[in-house]
């Protein structure tokens, strides 16, 4: 008797006890989501789950979306991904960088299942990668921040010094200095994506050192609450966080996965899904900005909107030269702009950022 038989027997016993075990044989297609945090983080994972719900609403009873939250990067993630694949899911979104290698390993064993890995760089025939050009949002925000700062110091709460975060800092700095060359940017690294207390403390430290606009690349609304309390400006992250800081929030850079998730699910249902590498920005709708604070002068809002439009139609490239790196060497020469490969591996600051990038 194999183990399968034993467990089947137990299952039958459960059935025989007169209570029905819910059948999992559904006609609809299953779409799975794997999250690194709890859906209640109000940040990164929360936005992905909003995308999942959008898929469910769009396709109704044609699909069944499932998710597993707080999956640890490492061996657990491979098991969960595999379990979903073995369980008959048609399409699986793995929504953290750390799920990259596990996703590829499982994908190799399940060539018929489609995988979508967020923020990674390794692909396969049945593995797409997707990410958002959040730096476009940060560039627009940088224009506003540069105009709004009185002290000419902008504070930035960083999580980990990885290219994704460094890119955001640089884009914001370039934009701020393009409208206000006196701006300098101070960065405080908190070594976590999510610790409201520590994020708030970092914001306080930055404000105490003179910053009057706070940006963050961490998940909780704590830095905005601090800004609200101290009477300085701040920019929301991932969601519109205006209810946490109605006076302080200039705008928020919103992750919007709804459209992409619906599109890819549709492609799977239609049988037209192909492995791709999508890095969408404003144009694709993956990056959005929350409504601007009414306290921002109209000309500044106009400038921001113009910048966003320019990015959308390609007339403005955030990393277009000329600009220098922090050490004074040329970042990009006049008439050139950084390509995606350089952006993906960015590990230096531009001129105007203070302190050394932790290595």
């Amino acid at each position: 008797m194999t183990l399968k038989h034993i467990s089947t027997l137990i299952g039958v016993a459960a059935l025989a006890s007169g209570l029905l075990v819910g059948g999992t044989a559904n006609a609809e297609d299953k779409i799975g989501f794997i999250y690194v945090g709890p859906v209640g983080d109000h940040g990164w994972t929360y936005r992905h789950d909003v995308g999942r719900q959008a898929v469910q609403n769009e396709f109704g009873d044609k699909v069944k979306t499932t998710f597993v939250e707080s999956v640890k990067e490492g061996p657990d993630s491979e098991r969960v991904i595999r379990q979903m694949a073995a369980d008959g899911h048609k399409l699986i979104f793995t929504t953290s960088f750390g799920f990259m290698n596990p996703t590829l390993k499982v994908a190799k064993q399940f060539p018929d299942v489609k995988f979508e890995h967020a923020t990674g760089y390794k692909r396969a025939d049945n593995v797409s990668t997707y990410s958002a050009r959040f730096y476009e949002g940060r560039y627009v925000v940088g224009k506003v921040a540069g105009k709004m700062t009185k002290s000419n110091i902008i504070g930035y709460v960083g999580s980990f010094p990885i290219p994704e975060v460094v890119r955001g800092i640089n884009a914001m700095t370039l934009a701020a200095r393009s409208v206000n060359p006196d701006v300098t940017v101070k960065v405080a690294w908190v070594s976590t994506w999510y610790d409201p207390g520590k994020e708030g403390d970092a914001a306080k430290a930055l404000i105490d050192q003179g910053a009057d606009v706070i940006l963050q690349h961490t998940d909780s609304p704590a830095p905005l609450q601090v800004a609200e309390n101290r009477g300085v400006w701040a920019v929301g992250q991932a969601s519109d966080m205006t209810k946490f800081a109605p006076k302080a929030q200039l705008t928020a850079i919103i992750d919007d996965w709804d459209g992409y998730y619906i599109e890819r699910t549709k492609a799977v249902l239609d049988g037209t899904w192909k492995s791709e590498d999508v890095w969408g920005g404003f144009k694709s709708g993956m990056v959005k900005l929350a409504p601007y604070n009414t306290a921002i002068p109209e000309d500044v809002i106009a400038l921001a909107k113009e910048t966003q439009k320019g990015i959308e139609d390609g007339s403005i490239l955030p990393f277009a030269g000329p600009f220098n790196k922090q050490d004074g060497s040329v970042g990009a020469a006049e008439g050139s702009a950084l390509d995606d490969g350089t952006l993906l591996g960015m590990n230096w600051y531009v001129e105007g950022v203070e302190g050394q990038l932790p290595k």
Binding site: G155, V187, S191, E199, K204, Q209, Q225, G355
Partner: protein, 309 residues
Amino acid sequence: MSGFDWIVPVILTVITAATPLVFAGIGELVTEKSGVLNLGIEGMMLVGAVSGFIAATLTGNYFLAVAAAAVAGAIMAFLFGVLTLSLMANQVATGLALTLFGVGLSALMGQEFVGVPVSALAQLDIAGLSDIPFIGPILFAQDALVYLSFFMVGAVSWFLYKTKAGLILRAVGDSHDAAHSIGYPVIGIRYLAVMFGGAMSGIGGAYLSLAYTPMWAENMTAGRGWIALALIVFATWKPGLVLVGAYMFGGITILQLHAQAAGLNVPSQVLSMLPYLATVLVLVLISKDQSRIRKHAPACIGKIFHPAA
């Protein structure tokens, strides 16, 4: 204007960072003094944080909210007491299980309250005094819980060393068999001490969700319960030093952020290690001197007591 203006806001930041640690630390101190080691502080803080937040959102009354947090923490501690005191389960394992349970329970309770804003606990500006430069904003413009944390440290210190009940509690922690033979209800006293610890941890958690960062988010304590544990050793089980230690731990975190913002180049991980290494060092220093450790560390800590044994 002097060049020291920056000191006041830094001190204010340190106060908010330290206050949850003071509460959790002073509560666990009393628990440990009675001879019980409860490693479930993190779990109790989280349940306190969410209970306080829910009560504040539903009633808008912060007094009720803090009371709810204290009661919730005490209930969690009572559960710990039933297992370890009445049923004599191992304290280390039960404490860890309590944390596991508390993390899950708080997340479950708080599901509907994620992303709900609540106004922060008000600062009590003491008229006239809070305007004094420098010391005014530090001493006379804090929220009620900060004052309560100072009061609790004083009260616990007075209780432990100046009252008969405190003497009995310490006796129970130092030798439960001796205390029992004199006729003290060892188990009953420990229940009270454990529940006091739970209530304080609950309030410490509520400080996070109501004052420090007024919101509820899963796992928002982010390891502060474990720091509280280190704190007690650091303080060599003396209430006053718990306060000093909490401010030192809070201070190191804040100074590290300031150092970064000022452009100082030290790996953040190295700075984050300092409090833990400092605790080990202090532990070594106080343990070396047998008489000092005997004077302050409860001898029966973690040991199971059975009256008939």
